[in-house]
Structures are given as C-alpha cells and as structure tokens.
C-alpha cells in the first residue's frame, strides 16, 4: 500500500527512504501554525492533507516531493 510521508524536514524524509513526501510547516507543528486563527489553521491543515491524498493517488517511480 502507498505511504505518504508528511515531514517537516524533507532531506531527512529523503534520507530515510520515503517515496512520497509532503513538506510540512514546522517541527513542533507539522500540520498547523499557532500564529493563525483556528479556522485558518484548519484550512492550512486541510490543504496539506489534500496534497497528501493527491500524492497517494499519484504513481511515482522514485522519491518525489509534492
């Protein structure tokens, strides 16, 4: 089954061998941003997750950063 790695530090994700990579926001809050309002923050998170679903739907032949 395909796996998408949502990771704050892309080079680390690459070095550990992830094939589908979504860069995320920051280490302590990869899928959020405490400086945003809750609604904006959820929108940001949704955007990232939708990107992850797109990555899961895509065929890749090598390590790919979406």
């Amino acid at each position: 089954m395909p796996v998408v790695h949502m990771a704050s530090i892309v080079p680390i994700s690459q070095s550990v061998g992830a094939n589908r990579i979504i860069p995320t926001v920051a280490i302590p809050y990869p899928l959020g941003n405490p400086t945003l309002s809750p609604a904006e923050e959820k929108k940001l998170r949704r955007g990232l997750v939708e990107k992850a679903l797109k990555a899961l739907g895509a065929d890749v032949t090598e390590q790919t950063v979406f």
Binding site: V10, V25, A26, L44
Partner: protein, 166 residues
C-alpha cells in the same frame, strides 16, 4: 542580526552581552541543549557545535549555546514548503539532534554533583571554549577586562526538559 545565548554557566551571568537575548539560568546542561534545540526547530541557527571536543555530558556540568536568527543568513530553505513553513537550518538541526543522542548515552552531570574546584574549572573551560563563537558574533569581552570573574556556583533549578533525570 539577533542572537540568543543560553547557558547554565554562572560566569556568563557576570558578563555583558549588549543587545542579545539571554537565557542564563541555573538549569542542567541538557536543559540548555533543549532550549537551543527548540530554537533550531523554530528556524534559528547554531553558531557553534553543541558538543565539546573532549568532554562528555557526564564530565562537564556546564553548557552554553549561542544561536542566531537571521533570515538573510545561509539558511538552507526548504523551497517546496508551504509559505508558512519555518525555515530550519539543516546543519544546526542535524548537530543538535545528534548531540542530544550523545546526552542519552550516560547520565548528565549536574553542577551540584561536583566539587567546587571542579566546577570553577569547568565553568572556566566552558567560557574559554565559547570565546571564539562569542567573538565572531561581535562580543567584545565586556566584563572580562579584569580576567575571569570570581566563580559563584548556584543551586540548580528544577529540570524542565522532556528527557532529563533530576
């Protein structure tokens, strides 16, 4: 450029660091490292290596860390990231995480566990090994004109870090 100096070395509190943010509190060396790590995660960059060249964490109770926050610096940006992404300096991140790994290999030496003469020497060595990074950040040895200041050890504050043992 903005600097922050974290240190549990009592000698650092005698000195003056004009315009810098300071976190000079009597905590464990591990707490200093954790404070630095959190800044690295928030996009700051280390100006020097977080480990000593010869002492291990159970041999030196003091640690100082100097970091810089500068968007104009040579941060290796994660260009594909979302615009909100904090730009993490990969070298700093790698080094601070590896250093924390070393801190896990033996119990961390806390200042109150060592004799006074030992502490004074350790504080002096920490200051000496910080001279170059401090100087490169523009520090002009304020307060050091009369030599190394008198050493007054202090009581350790409770440990706040996630993986420290009191």
């Amino acid at each position: 450029m903005v600097f922050v100096l974290f240190s549990n070395n009592p000698l650092m509190r005698v000195l003056r660091f004009p315009g810098w943010e300071l976190g000079l509190t009597p905590v464990s060396s591990l707490d200093v490292l954790l404070a630095g790590r959190n800044r690295v995660h928030a996009g700051w960059q280390l100006l020097h290596h977080p480990l000593y060249g010869n002492y291990r964490p159970h041999q030196q109770p003091y640690r100082s860390l100097l970091l810089q926050n500068s968007t104009a610096s040579t941060i290796q940006a994660n260009t594909q990231a979302t615009t909100q992404q904090a730009q993490v300096n990969l070298t700093s991140l790698h080094l601070v995480e590896e250093a924390l790994g070393i801190y896990q290999t033996a119990p961390v030496l806390l200042p109150h566990q060592a004799p006074h003469s030992f502490l004074r020497d350790c504080a002096t060595i920490d200051l000496e090994l910080m001279r170059l990074p401090l100087a490169q950040a523009g520090w002009a040895e304020l307060g050091l004109e009369g030599g190394i200041p008198p050493f007054l050890p202090d009581t350790l504050l409770p440990c706040t870090g996630g993986n420290c043992e009191a």
